[in-house]
């Protein structure tokens, strides 16, 4: 009833006409105008070939997408003043002359279907439409405002390239091309999204990459049925079909150099128009601990920082649970002095330790979430209020004991040392799971939880590559670039587990 009432009230203008069926239309100016003409940015101009008033063609483009200066210089000028058009009698000859080079424009295409013309125009082309011949010629005059290549915001590095991906796909592919100049670099483009029609590029190196993986990615991408690719999640979820148990199975990055080194190793990259991020598949857990600075420093320093990163991963995952179980179930494990001072600081706090830990863990998540949403100008308040209220005041008010605040602070700081945010998010959830287990049966619960995590990790597989590779599943040991980074001369092979068609580096 409610619906009917509303429908009656709708004004007539609001009812849209059915979208025209492009397949049945012939390629004429009027038809194109019918499709695109409702938009304000649709512009046309009548071109008089050789300034002859009888010989006219229509020039069609979308304002803002095209470079008007080059249309003036390289398309209009030759058409109206060019000597080669003097003896022209019909449109067919015009087309012939243009195709022969009378209009000197690098990228021009002859189109006979209205579909192609319209998508060309939307892509930023200017189209010359020959009504009698039912033909159009499109010129790639795309030009629009784009962001400059800037320093990466998320992954900083001292010694290394400062360029990162930008929103424009073509700029990104160009940056990659400049870094990887082999002719075998393949940039395979496809369009995804019914409405958004977003170009998505697969990037890999022929001769290195495992062809089965490329084929599988292509298959999965072609199965996507979506209206628009406006978040990366659509592509990510399509790339990942297997269970992940919260652990990321696509590696995202905004650094071009990391991306390229992954491509060279034999992985496949995916970049999407409109996102300053690239994706790499297949991934293993090892790659979430690698940062480009590991390779730009002395191998000993690189290895030490990597060991640090692994131990920080353990810290951020296990520490709250460990504290809960040691303090509630196994006080004999704490050094006596410490046990006494923990007990003293806990005096007067009404909640059990596991409750305190949960409260603080949740408070920490709240702080992170609130900090993300706040505008930059007031961003400081969260940290100030959070640190003061949640930390200082809560301790003074005996809501939480200082030991727990310290433990959660260490956990939080350790979690920020993870290079990959997706991986860090997975750890955030598993940390809670472990803490719950520990609050029930202490260290035994911690052991059970740890086994559960290991079980899940071992069950994950992406594109046939075990997630824990090369720690498991590889026939030959390849630990040159795992917990420690060996000098480059020992790292002579591409990862075996990727089953690359070319095993040895440098071949």
């Amino acid at each position: 009833m409610f619906d009917k009432k509303k429908r009656k009230k709708l004004p007539k203008e609001m009812i849209f006409s059915e979208p025209p069926d492009l397949e049945k239309m012939t390629l004429t100016f009027n038809n194109i105008k019918k499709v695109l003409g409702k938009s304000a940015d649709f512009k046309t101009r009548k071109v008089f070939i050789n300034l002859d008033k009888k010989m006219t063609v229509e020039l069609v483009y979308l304002e803002g997408l095209v470079d008007q200066k080059s249309i003036n210089e390289y398309i209009l000028k030759p058409l109206e003043y060019g000597k080669r058009f003097k003896d022209i009698e019909n449109e067919k000859q015009v087309i012939h002359e243009i195709r022969q080079g009378a209009v000197y424009y690098i990228s021009q295409k002859k189109r006979i279907h209205i579909n192609d013309v319209i998508s060309d125009i939307i892509d930023g082309n200017a189209a010359l439409i020959f009504d009698h011949e039912k033909t159009a010629i499109t010129f790639d005059t795309l030009q629009y405002e784009k962001r400059n290549v800037t320093e990466p915001t998320g992954e900083n590095i001292l010694k290394g390239a400062k360029d990162s991906f930008v929103e424009t796909l073509k700029v990104n592919t160009a940056t990659i091309r400049r870094k990887v100049r082999t002719p075998n670099l393949v940039i395979n483009e496809r369009i995804i999204g019914k409405q958004s029609k977003t170009p998505v590029c697969l990037i890999y190196i022929d001769g290195i990459v495992n062809k089965n993986i490329v084929a599988e990615i292509k298959r999965r991408l072609s199965q996507i049925e979506t209206e628009g690719v406006l978040t990366t999640g659509i592509i990510e979820e399509a790339l990942v079909k297997e269970k992940g148990y919260l652990f990321p199975k696509v590696h995202y990055m905004e650094r071009v150099d990391t991306f390229c080194s992954n491509i060279i190793e034999g992985r496949v990259g995916v970049i999407i128009e409109g996102f300053p991020i690239a994706f790499i598949v297949p991934v293993t857990i090892v790659s979430f601990f690698q940062t480009p600075s590991d390779y730009s420093q002395n191998f000993i320093i690189g290895s030490l920082t990597r060991i640090l990163r692994y131990s920080l991963m353990l810290t951020t995952l296990v520490l709250p649970g460990f504290y809960v179980s040691v303090a509630t179930f196994h006080p004999e494990m704490i050094p006596t002095e410490l046990a006494e001072s923990i007990a003293a600081s806990k005096q007067g706090v009404p909640f059990p330790i596991y409750m305190e830990v949960f409260i603080m863990l949740i408070a920490f998540e709240v702080l992170i979430e609130a900090g993300l949403r706040l505008p930059k100008a007031v961003g400081q308040t969260v940290s100030v209020v959070g640190a003061l209220v949640v930390g200082e005041a809560a301790v003074n008010a005996k809501l939480v004991s200082p030991g727990v605040v310290l433990i959660i602070a260490i956990t939080a700081i350790a979690s920020f040392a993870m290079p990959n945010q997706d991986f860090s998010n997975a750890l955030r959830v598993w940390r809670f799971v472990l803490a719950i287990f520990c609050s029930i049966i202490g260290l035994f619960g911690l052991a059970v939880g740890a086994i559960l995590i290991l079980f899940c990790l071992a069950a994950i597989e992406s594109y046939g590559v075990p997630y824990l590779a090369p720690y498991v599943g590889s026939k030959s040991y390849q630990y040159e670039d795992t917990i420690i980074r060996m000098p480059n001369k020992y790292d002579a092979f591409r990862p075996f587990f990727l089953k690359t068609s070319n095993k040895k580096k440098g071949e």
Binding site: A327, T328, F329, P331, E332, T336, A339, E340, S341, I342, A343, A344, S345, K346, Q347, P352, I353, Y354, P402, I436, S439, I440, I441, G442
Partner: protein, 403 residues
Amino acid sequence: MMKKIMRLITVCLMIIHISGCEKIIRERAEIEEHLFIRTVGLDKADHEDCVNMTIISKIVEAGATAEATRKQAYIVTEEGRTLFEANRKFNAVASKDVFWGHLQYIIIGEAAAKEGLSKYLDFIIRDHETRLTPNVLIVRGVTAREAIEKINTKEFIVSDRLKSLFENHDELSISEDMVLAEIIHLMDHDYTSVYIPCIQLVHRTPWEEIMEELGGKKEYDPMLAGYAVFKEGKLIGYLTEHLSRGLNWVNDKVEGGVIVVEDDRGNQISLEIIDAKVKKIPKIKEDNLSIIIEVEMSSNIVDYEGKEDIFKEEALKDLENKQEKVISEEIEKAIEYAKENGVDILGIGDAVFHKYPVEWNAYKDNWQEDAFKEVPIRVSVKSKINRSYVIKEAIGSQSGVKK
């Protein structure tokens, strides 16, 4: 299906965590509900067959800053027919659960030690919370309660003071830090007798007296004073100073110490023991058992009264001989004591048993009372003086002028 499982898990978690039944998970207790004790004193009570148990715990009151944090000792004594009964009585007094996991020192009073060790140690060994690592010690002349009260000071509670005491035991090597497990080992064999380090209360810092005049509490220092020796689990006497170092020599427990000898002019020389190795070698020849105790040690000259040049081969040789004599005298006195009392605290039965397990059967019965007293023990000491540290000649010997 998945929903049902999730609901089940949630319900279980809620039952376990949120319900009022605290004891649904055994052994879960908040850390502040424990009373951490590091030192326990065991005494004979005035009543017949009763024991006194004294616990001391550090009560820390957390303040906002380190200075505001107050530490206070909490000393309670409870009487019970058994240790466990006394232990349970604490819970009525202390409002907290006595937690034995951090026990570091077991102090046994003299009277209790005379009564018998096993009665007092059984509970501590049997209980699952305690470990086998606490140090056991006997207080000479007083009860454990008295010792605890006297040693305890405002700044340092008993365990702190005992800790530093035992950390320095190798400076003189007249005693040792023996853990519960070692004592269990000594008690378990019929061919060994128990010896436990003992402490004595001394009152020798003069400024304490001044403090007392000003109204302070008279404070005592604990001193490591050798060993208490047990026969069949009962205290029979004490080994002190040289005698106890003799015991340490035989048991290869000497790590440092001072040997004072005289040179031919009567000047005293201090030798610092650097390292020592002792072997007990039992030998059976034609059914006759004999023991050789081989000591190999080296020392450095640290202190010399005279002005002669002692850094000469013959002088050093002479010093080495004198040093060997001192050591073998110490050892022989200890052996004499052990044989007199029929207590094999020297580990000789142990050495024989491990080298001659078959022949041991002949000595097995009545080893300590009989065969041990008869067995000839020879002591051979090899010593070496390594260096004289920074200066070769004594100051004032004017060796610098000659050059």
